[in-house]
Symmetry: C2
């Protein structure tokens, strides 16, 4: 089943969110509008808005309240991608040229700032102070994670804990907070807030680990960017870390640097794939997926819960 | 009289703010801490915190509420400077190397993001929803202004209105909002909010015009960066705009480009200084200063008001 089919009962509300996303990004500056729309239209799975809405279903679901949170979180995600592409010197994302490659780093920086500011503006429609505290704390963590990611580049002496902390901040926290803020905004019973947060956190971890596996195992066509980009950019992810358990592979991986040739990097990627590291990474992702499904059991049974379960399984087991 | 002497009765509260600024910037990342502290210690006049406190004096002044707004606004100002230096390729600010020159553009981008996130975290201590709306709207405007500034670089076919709109967003709005948010946070009578906003706005305009004049008239030692930097970087400010009224000077100014030599730019700066443009720019600054002093008259008489008046005059007439 395709992801979108899983939440087809939310279709009319997802359309409201898509429309709101487009309408929000209507600045007077044509350049800024083009750069932001470009990011918006590059698509993505809209996982964060969907989680906001599904979490809201456990409380007083009102799309006209929840849409503010849903759109804000998607915009924050977009803004972080735009800044991320500056860090990674990435030219392609989802098969589309990035803002920084289509324009330049400066435009990318301010497009990110602007999109982020729009998100804050939307969030001011949420009257619960708790929501703002949660979001602000998360953003501090996310920016700390981004700095850490720069520092950890090409640093081969790191362990799985470094990696897990990085992907927590880079991905899992914002997905966790999507669930949590959906709950807060819909006035869901407080005892469920933390459970929804944890569900999102575990799904986010599983999601990012799979993403990092696919960077090794998928083709350039499937990824919308060259395979092995992570390692080439010095981002040490789960497959590389597991492969480094073997001293010979470690020695080879340590040879990676910014200007390594395509043949050489291809050879190292093959080594990693043959080392059993991909399987170990899938097992790590499964570990988080199981935790997500377990915490989900503690929530009341309803359609939203069943959908969250389907999405978690889809995300944790996707092969592209 | 020195600026700091004017608000010496606030000294103990200013110290609380300085301490809070330092304590806020204590991330676990040493790199980030260094980069942010570096920006913090480069100093600056702390005009925004002082305005927050003085505006608060018209209501229920509580330093432990107001410090959140004061520190948040100074941090937002700092964050915008860090991003600004990326745009301007600036190597020096206030005589110190900029974050982007001491580290690089990427670190500067995330230092800015991080410092900004800290500001949001502090602002969540303010329970008045109105404050958050005002701040979010302002930040959207500021980011739009930053994009506009990039677009307007080396664009010689622009007029004074373009310039005024740019400095409004770049400088005046955040100073205006410092006054306004100080009033909101201290529960000042609502009829005074807009007046305090307008006072800050006019002072901010005057301040930035003087800043732009000094970039032409001061020495490198006084500025802490090379004189004429603005024009060299393609930022067309009031003196250049007034000078361009003369067709010959216009023709010379239009020759400015990124790689112009020091002699050539020195010659053009001299032309601008001889054209009467500096005097016209001072008159423009005075125009805003007068407006600031006029709107101030509509506020109740007290020590804070007298101090605001002194600061406005100081700012609007400073020669370095």
């Amino acid at each position: 089943m395709k992801l979108k089919m899983m939440y087809s009962f939310l279709n009319s509300d997802i359309n409201i969110i898509e429309k709101e996303l487009e309408e929000t990004i209507q600045p007077e500056s044509l350049l800024l509008k083009q750069a932001s729309m470009h990011t918006l239209q590059a698509g993505g799975k809209r996982i964060r808005p969907v989680f906001v809405l599904l979490a809201g279903k456990f409380g007083d679901y009102d799309i006209h309240v929840l849409k503010n949170v849903a759109v804000a979180l998607e915009l924050i995600h977009m803004a972080s991608l735009v800044h991320d592409d500056v860090i990674d010197d990435a030219d392609l994302r989802r098969g589309q040229p990035t803002v920084k490659s289509k324009w330049d780093n400066k435009i990318a920086m301010y497009t990110g700032d602007f999109v982020f500011a729009l998100a804050l503006e939307l969030m001011t429609n949420i009257k619960r102070p708790e929501a703002h505290k949660i979001l602000a704390n998360t953003i501090v963590e996310v920016t700390l994670g981004e700095i850490q990611q720069i520092k950890d580049k090409y640093r081969f002496k790191q362990n799985l804990r470094d990696y897990l902390r990085r992907i927590k901040r880079k991905t899992a926290l914002l997905i966790a907070v999507s669930c949590q803020l959906g709950a807060v905004a819909a006035g869901v019973e407080e005892k469920y807030h933390k459970k929804l947060f944890r569900f999102g956190y575990y799904v986010g971890m599983s999601y990012q680990i799979i993403d990092d596996i696919l960077d090794f195992t998928s083709t350039e066509k499937e990824l919308g960017k060259p395979a092995g980009s992570d390692l080439l950019q010095g981002n040490i992810t789960a497959p590389a870390l597991f492969a480094m358990d073997d001293p010979h592979t470690l020695c080879e991986i340590e040879k990676v640097h910014e200007n390594i040739g395509p043949e050489e990097i291809g050879r190292i990627i093959s080594l990693i794939k043959q080392s059993g590291a991909i399987e170990k990474s899938f097992a790590l992702s499964d570990h988080y997926l199981d935790k997500a499904l377990t915490v989900l059991e503690e929530l009341p049974e309803n359609k939203a819960k069943r959908t969250l379960r389907d999405i978690a399984k889809y995300i944790g087991r996707r092969k592209f």
